[in-house]
Symmetry: C2
Subunit: 122 residues, 2 copies
Amino acid sequence: MYSISEVAAKVNIKPHTIRFYEKEGIIEPLRDENGVREFDDALIKWLMFIKKLRETQMPITDLKKYALLFKEGDHTARERLMLLENHQKKIQHQIETLKATDEMLDGKIAAYKKHVLNKSHR
Amino acid sequence: MYSISEVAAKVNIKPHTIRFYEKEGIIEPLRDENGVREFDDALIKWLMFIKKLRETQMPITDLKKYALLFKEGDHTARERLMLLENHQKKIQHQIETLKATDEMLDGKIAAYKKHVLNKSHR
DNA sequence: GTAACTGTTAAAGTTCACTTTAAGGCAAGC
DNA sequence: GCTTGCCTTAAAGTGAACTTTAACAGTTAC
């Protein structure tokens, strides 16, 4: 079992943000007899998953939806699947966008380098 | 020469946003004798470039910086180069992040599919 | 026993990139 | 002559995802 700050360090999400996620219904940590949050390995995995989804721009609302569906049980698996597939499509589209701009920048940068190099010879 | 709404259609940026970019000093369209904005091909290219940079999350402040440097003239080429290289690095990093999550999702999705398929047989 | 960490609620603030509204006025095409 | 599209300034609003503040209190480690 880990404390909120241990988890924060482990997954690189601030304690504040972790509490915020809880308020949003995205996580539901256990509590000890004093009401202090306790995080087990499953929850840490879930937080790492959240991290990856957020890094790839999944909106908080979708995260909420996913967490809610999970809590509702097994029969929501198909819906959760669709949510993930949907997000994957967005990711793949964004990869293409980024690649295209990356390549365009290759050209631009090459031109600039040539130009700057010329100048430095005078 | 193109009007603002023609340009808006061409580059898929709303007239409002184009005016906003002008206010921010990112573009500087010509004006006709009535003060109506006129866009030439060079400006349209610049707007398309802006579009690509925004789609890849370059902040408006960097766009401003770039436009300002450009206006300052040739001697700022090195600085503009650095700006673009910097942005390219971010793009490449983001591509890696997206790819990693894409692959993780492949695994998750496969597991869900197996699960959902099982259920549908009962 | 005191500093460090934990907790609470509720609200306000921040940043970013627009987007919208208001309220008016000029100019061109049918 | 009226609709459509263009112009202006200035300000307010939006949505997303935190982040911060306030103000207080309990618990644990050294």
